[in-house]
């Protein structure tokens, strides 16, 4: 990031980005969502924010679990705070519970009729987008599903760029035999069918792995088969920059290869990189959603957009709100990211100042 600051060209580009309102506001909205999602447990959760019981204050959101017996209830398992709130209100005591805006976790089944089935949106029950096929709150699942997808996509992008840039740069800068061999290897590598690899890898993962590590493995597999495309751009850009006079000048001055690559070439090819970033995120979100849709993605019952979409296609006639919510979220999310991408591409486009005569 310090590179960005140093380069007045980049500052100019960023200023232009701010001038493109559509992309800029999309970016702000996305950032706001990202921030909200980081504190998501305080917005959408079935654990209370604050419980005041017998003069003591409890903050169950991020703390260890409280069995019902902690609050004078008769069961030894996790307190149902919605019931606790009702219980306190009815008993007229001084105890009180402050629940999040949406008092549901993405995992709990909350069938109002005693049957787990999709229920239409109902503000009075605080199911603002309705419930899914097993009566789980759709908004909660969408929110946490989107959070996972976004974090996943950002992690994916970072990893892909790290590998892609490193390999691409090396190919372009070193050239020669290394370049030719790497290119052939990459061609072979990129022809391995990605979906099969995901299926194969997932069938051999030991079951003791937690959901988190399974998500990491999925990320690893996806990165392993996606970094190749980035190398093509990096390679050509590096080749181009390498033959420029300033690189030759740096060489003559005795700059080391590392210095030339990091101080001279990388900052100059950065604009190419940055323009691709949002689109990489779009493809990562689409990929993880598609994998979930096919049942090869995040392990159940992890909330995910793909899983909701799949439910939606199966209940098109009976519960259209499921597919509408999932599809709507996906469209909005991908549109926002695409707007950001277009704005970046435009602001980084050197052609604005080029006149051809």
């Amino acid at each position: 990031m310090s590179l960005l600051k140093l380069n007045p060209q980049t500052v100019k580009k960023l200023r232009r980005f701010r001038e493109i309102k559509r992309g800029y506001y999309s970016f702000l909205i996305l950032m706001a969502f990202l921030f909200l999602s980081l504190i998501g447990e305080m917005l959408i959760n079935n654990k209370a924010l604050i419980v005041s019981y017998e003069g003591d204050w409890y903050f169950p959101t991020y703390s260890a679990f409280h069995p019902g017996t902690d609050f004078g209830l008769d069961y030894p398992y996790e307190t149902n705070y919605r019931d606790l709130q009702k219980h306190f209100q009815e008993s007229g005591s001084d105890n009180w519970v402050l629940m999040p805006i949406i008092p549901y976790s993405p995992y709990e089944n909350d069938g109002s009729t005693g049957i787990f089935r999709p229920e239409a949106p109902d503000a009075s029950k605080q199911h603002y987008l309705g419930t899914d096929t097993t009566s789980r709150d759709i908004l909660a699942r969408l929110f946490y599903g989107t959070r996972i997808a976004l974090v996943f996509a950002i992690g994916f992008m970072a990893a892909v760029y790290l590998i892609g840039v490193a390999v691409g740069c090396a190919m372009g800068y070193l050239g020669g035999m290394f370049d030719i061999l790497s290119q052939r290897l990459i061609e072979i590598w990129s022809n391995i069918p990605f979906l099969y690899m995901v299926i194969i890898v997932f069938s051999v993962i030991p079951d003791a792995f937690t959901i988190f590590s399974r998500i990491l493995i999925l990320l690893g597999v996806m990165v392993l088969f996606s970094w190749t495309s980035m190398t093509y751009y990096m390679r050509t850009e590096t080749y181009k920059e390498k033959s420029r006079d300033y690189v030759a000048a740096a060489k003559v001055l005795g700059a080391s290869n590392t210095r030339i690559v990091f101080r001279h070439i990388l900052p100059n090819v950065l604009s190419t990189l940055v323009t691709f970033m949002p689109f990489t995120i779009v493809s990562a979100i689409s990929a993880i959603t598609a994998l979930d849709f096919l049942g090869f993605g995040l392990p159940p019952p992890t909330p995910s957009l793909g899983e909701l979409l799949k439910q939606g296609t199966q209940t098109l006639r009976t519960a259209p709100w499921i597919v509408m919510s999932a599809f709507g979220t996906l469209v909005v999310l991908l549109t926002l990211v695409t707007f950001v991408g277009e704005a970046i591409r435009e602001s980084f486009d050197p052609k604005k100042f080029t006149l051809y005569k």
Binding site: E78, N109, D207
Partner: protein, 654 residues
Amino acid sequence: MMTKFSFRFALVATAAFLTACGGGSESTNTVDTSLDNTQEVNDYYAANPDFFTFATINDLPNDLVWEDGMDEPDLGSPDAVKGGTFYESIEDFPPTLRFVGPDSNFSSRSWIAGYYRMGYAWPHPNTRNFIPGIAESWAIDDDTSTVYIKINPEARWSDDEPITSDDQFFAFYFFQSEYIQAPFYNNHYNTEYTNITRYDEHTFSVTMATAKPDMAEYGLGLNPIPQHFYKELGEDFPERYQWRYEPHAGAYTIDDQNIDMGVRIVLERKKDWWAKDNKYFRNLYNVDRINLTVMRDAAKRYEAFRRGDVDMMRVVTADMWHDNLPPTDPDVAGGYIHKATFFNGGPRSNWGLWMNSSRPYLDNQDVRIGIQYAANWDLVISNYFRGDVERLKTQNDGYPDFSNLNIEPRSFNIDLALEHFAKAGFTERGPDGILRNAQGDRLAFTLTTHYERLGDVFTILKEEAIKAGLEIRVEMLDGAASFRKAQERQHDIYFVSFSPQLVMYPDYWQYFHSDNAYDDAFLEDGSVNPDRKIKTQTNNLQVVADFELDQWIEEYDSSEDYDRMVELSQMIQEKVYDYASFSPGFVEVNYRTAYWRWVQWPEGFNFRFTTYPYEMFAFWIDPEMRQATMDARRNGETFEPHADDVYDQFKGLQ
């Protein structure tokens, strides 16, 4: 000129290659048919004189009591009309038309062969008494565990060749042969039978290895194999017969031109079928054509049904029954689509949690019992299945006399679960509410399964188990991977059901005997062998090994006394209940189906010992009604609705 020619040649070659790839059925039919293995088969008979005996009709014992099973109630309806086409969907295109050998155990197998292949005699689907198939009459000699069979002289293969005793001789050669690459059949036909004797062209006897109470089923349930069709049987059997449809004695057959690779298969009824006037068959197999179209996706199958492209749909899930096809649905309310619930009997699929009792902590009986109490099947049944299914009681429900009706499965009970977990050392709840023991190990197990359509069941179980301090990690694999995992005993808890066969008594050996759990599980004196190793690739998924249980199972397997077997069966089930490695889930005591109004059914809908509405082919299609219904639907004309016709004449019976 040369180049032009080569180019043209390449084109022709490519075209030929593509044709060969696409039209497998045509290309394989041009194989060399001059092979003849008759000599090899005869040599095999001669080399095994104890098994294959040739006698004359005079050698037939005189004191046999011949039965013909003609006193049982008729099947189907005399009102049934022949004709029409039945449209049905299949999930996958069959990978082969063979019914044996590699890849032959595919999902649509029953539609290709299973439903129409005939044995000599078969249990009446309501009374379970034998009624004739290919046989005209038979005699059962319990003392020598031999079944004597007279083949109906009218009986013909679908290619009109007569069925003779030689075909049954050949069947033994076929199933004992390694050419067919089917070790199960090889083993079965080598160990369950000891002799076949030919008396004349239509008379033979088969001797079983034991005189078990259901011995007759083994003999009468045999299928002859058309010797003339398998003249070319040899090392290349799987490829050679890949797309050749074996002639059988049943009503439907597949013509090569009715196979549209990857898309559709059409079966046609033999108009001059030899059994068409037979008492038990005259009202069955009524439709002229069965059109099987591949539809891989459940949602797509449903839409096809709603369009009327498929005539009938088996309804499995509660939401399909209650939400997708409610009584208020215009097509249901208008009487175009009918719905029926039929209560059937027979051995039940055992949906439940199969715990691997060789895994850490699952080897503790208290942990297993705790898991049983922490599995909230009652909630699954009432809230997910909406009370449409019942709680399974044991791993072997639905065997009259043999199933232990005194066993009540453990119900969800947090206190009892915690009590048993505490006995096993899991006393403290961690910050996540999951129990831990003194070593800090969490009480967490993986539930492996491939039943994606039941995914919601597992999330409910998982969420409820947390209340009892138990974490269930759900692992959804594809079918082959999950089964392999269980077969290699890498699973903690496996959710599966074994579809039972319609037999008299359950098989315990493969599920509970220590032979299938460990190599040399016990020492001579019955104590545990300290060096024993887990045996994989068997059906003892729970790794049950109990010395006393072994004795009972061995006695049960060797016993020829019905009452003693019943007694042992009760004892075995009792012990298995105490061992608590199987958490019984749910059981479907009926089947439900939705069908268009032109599908007609005999009175009483269907048969007690069936698992699918169409299994016996007692329905018929009224082609005119099809057109009339569709016209009426367009014009808004309605009929009397049948939102749920319940046929419960067999309800409560096992």
